[in-house]
């Protein structure tokens, strides 16, 4: 099939045998699953048998682009990477940008599925003519940026590369993969997908190609893109100036910025971590992904202190929360170094930071002794933060425990530690407050990925006048938001340009964009239905792995400890409230009271094949 918007090929590689196969897919398949996240969900549901260890060779990593990739819609250079996560044991997808996504599609590929385990460290080169498996013996152990550059030296500068770092090689459960292009980094951060690659002895994936994507109605697409240009510019202005770090002061002003492992969500002075400070004192230049006018990336240089002269990327809002406020490390320069370590070693900053914060609170409670670790375990200790990150990547000493993630650590440390755990389904929670934003309470509890802010979105909840505290309407909000992100991750479209360029929920603009590219006469209802199909399929995958209502829950502090001060003082989500929202959520979804998609719903969505499993 070479319908507009698609290259028409799924490429499969078995690293155990070296076998590469290519298969087409029907237009109907594309119309039901769109691409990206949707393709990955279907491929993984079909190809994985339940209950395998995520490090088992039979796990499969999928890279998938979508119909909007390599078109003119702003922020279209995104790819979805997915596998069974070593952190959650469930379906997990993560996206990244830069240039790689476009080049993967230009290699003639809509999806790349990698299974098996190579006999020795390797990397893949995916081109229009096929896939080569090459030795990575001399690349093994390299930090991500060096690995990417080394492969570009070997394969040519027109090749785009994403690589795992030492953390992925050592199977750290939240290891990440990093791509670099023209000063811009592009990281698939969460879920430990790089560790799955590490278990396969797959150091990197390189892509090259020149096959463009056909668009059914280019002038209609151009008209749509032009009509959204001004709103996109206005809505992304703060991102353009400061990057995501601009959120630090406002979210703190809302009393919703977690600190000291969630002991508080408001701090008197957060300027040391703020976008304003980075802009004034650290900013070097803006960086951008291919085909995006926003340029939310920022290259920075540390102006003073022990890391003076260090040049790297600005830490994102999430990293400033996880590594910074959660550990009370209020130092912009130290956080650039922490970011550099995480990016180069290949570690998810959110899971890393929140896991360290969990460790610190356990130490504070006497559940773990400093003497046992050789590292001071105190809040606000920059040297300890940096040391713990390095030890985690090497699985050295206490790092071996940290590398397992906070949920597994809690199992080892005993029931007293469970009150300090800040994760759902094993995924540590991000910055958007589970207590202050009731939509995130139900959102985190029900998201496929667990504690993820890219299943249910916080963005609409920050709008002026939105009732953040009340549970009223939040289950419906979560359902709609999850369809939105599933489709967004299938197109595959950058969340920022999507939310600010096309809309905060699925609407006519999204339908028009897909129609203009594919030629399908697609309505908003149909698009919403695709989102619903993908979410239900992911849930079926998870249910098959054992997910039930008991896992759709929240951390102890969210259920039992109100925010103590600040503008969101008193906010939390007591169990009865969560239960009531969960009942409503399941009802809206057509799921049983155990959170299992009902047969009627599965039939309605064309997912009856999930019933035979």
């Amino acid at each position: 099939m070479t319908a507009p918007g698609y290259q028409g090929k799924i490429v499969s590689v078995d690293l155990s045998t070296g076998r590469v196969s290519t298969e087409p897919f029907a237009e109907g398949f594309a119309r039901r699953y769109l691409g990206g996240n949707g393709f990955a969900a279907r491929l993984l549901f079909d190809r994985l048998i339940p209950r395998i260890d995520p490090f088992d060779p039979r796990n499969t990593v999928v890279f998938a682009v979508g119909p909007l990739t390599d078109t003119t819609v702003s922020g279209n250079s995104r790819v979805c990477v997915a596998a069974k996560s070593p952190l959650t044991g469930l379906f997990f997808d993560s996206t990244f940008g830069g240039q790689f996504p476009i080049t993967l599609k230009r290699a003639g590929c809509d999806a790349l599925a990698i299974t098996g385990r190579a006999p020795a460290p390797c990397y893949l080169v995916v081109g229009e003519e096929g896939v080569e498996v090459k030795s990575a013996e001399r690349l093994w152990g390299l930090p991500t940026k060096e690995a990417v550059e080394a492969i570009q030296e070997l394969e040519g500068p027109e090749t785009d590369v994403t690589a795992i770092g030492p953390a992925g090689e050592r199977l750290v459960r939240y290891a990440c993969l990093a791509h670099y292009w023209k000063n811009r980094e592009a990281i698939a951060g969460r879920g430990g997908l790089a560790a799955v690659m590490g278990a396969k002895r797959l150091k990197a994936v390189a892509v090259r190609g020149s096959r463009k994507t056909a668009v059914a109605d280019p002038s209609r697409l151009k008209e749509l893109v032009n009509s959204r240009r001004e709103d996109l510019a206005k809505g992304t202005h703060a991102l353009k100036v400061y990057g995501t770090a601009f959120l630090i002061n406002p979210v703190n002003a809302l009393g919703a910025l977690g600190a000291r492992n969630m002991a508080r969500e408001w701090t008197e002075l957060v300027r040391p971590l703020s976008g304003e400070l980075y802009k004034e004192q650290f900013w070097v230049k803006d960086t951008t992904c291919q085909k995006c006018p926003v340029a939310c990336g920022k290259a920075v240089e540390v102006p003073d202190g022990p890391h003076k002269g260090l040049r790297w990327k600005i830490p994102e809002f999430e990293s400033l929360y996880a590594l910074g406020s959660m550990n009370e490390v209020w130092d912009a320069g130290v956080l650039v170094r922490a970011e550099e370590l995480c990016d180069q070693l290949g570690l998810d900053t959110i899971s890393m930071g929140v896991t360290i914060a969990f460790l610190l609170e356990c130490a504070q409670a006497g559940l773990i002794r400093e003497g046992d670790t050789g590292v001071p375990l105190r809040w606000g200790d920059p040297d300890a933060l940096l040391k713990l990150i390095e030890m985690t990547a090497r699985r050295e000493g206490i790092g071996d425990l940290l590398a397992e993630g906070s949920a597994r650590m809690a199992e080892r440390l005993g029931p007293e530690s469970r009150r300090f755990l800040y994760a759902v389904k094993g995924l540590e929670l991000p910055a958007h407050s589970a207590r202050a934003l009731k939509g995130m309470s139900i959102g985190y509890a029900t998201a496929t990925r667990g504690g993820s802010h890219h299943d249910t979105r916080p963005t609409p909840q920050y709008a002026q006048g939105f009732d953040r505290r009340s549970p009223e309407g939040k289950p419906a909000f979560a359902v709609r938001s999850q369809h939105f992100t599933a489709v967004g991750d299938s197109l595959v479209l950058c969340r920022f340009t999507g939310e600010r360029g096309l809309g905060l929920f699925l609407n006519e603009e999204y339908a028009r964009a897909v129609s203009a590219v594919t030629g399908w006469d697609l309505s908003v209802e149909e698009l919403e239905g695709i989102g619903e199909r993908i979410v239900n399929l992911e849930r079926c995958f998870n249910v098959r792995e054992g997910t039930r209502r008991e896992h759709d829950t929240l951390p102890w502090k969210v259920l039992a400890e109100p925010i103590p001060d600040g503008a969101s003082k008193g906010a939390y989500c007591p169990p009865e409230e969560l239960d009531a929202m969960l009942d409503e959520y399941y009802r809206l979804r057509g799921w049983t009271s155990e959170g299992i998609p009902g047969p009627d719903k599965l039939l309605q969505l064309g997912l009856e094949f999930t019933l035979s499993g």
Binding site: A238, A253, E276, E318, H432, Y462
Partner: protein
């Protein structure tokens, strides 16, 4: 401009991100203390700070969402920032 104290209220203003340029004077906390005529609305304060009508502003009064028609009282804190579009 200093009005007689009985005719004005003293408030704290905080301006973040792209709005920080409208802050009267430099400040590490992005805040300033200003006196405004008694009965001033949030919109009046935005005008006084020179923030154009077409610039979108989220306004919090003492930490909670407040519409631009709300009036200010002595010791109120008015926090202003651009609409949030986070996600990283």
């Amino acid at each position: 401009m200093i009005a007689a104290r009985g005719e004005s209220v003293r408030i704290q203003v905080q301006l973040f991100a792209t709005l920080s340029r409208y802050l009267p004077g430099a400040s590490a906390t992005h805040g300033a203390t200003i006196d405004v005529p008694d009965g001033s609305t949030i919109r009046d304060v935005l005008d006084r700070l020179g923030i154009p009508d077409e610039v979108p502003v989220i306004t919090l009064l003492n930490g909670r969402d407040a519409g631009h028609e709300e009036t200010l009282k002595e010791s109120d804190t008015l926090t202003m920032f651009p609409p949030l579009a986070g996600g990283a």
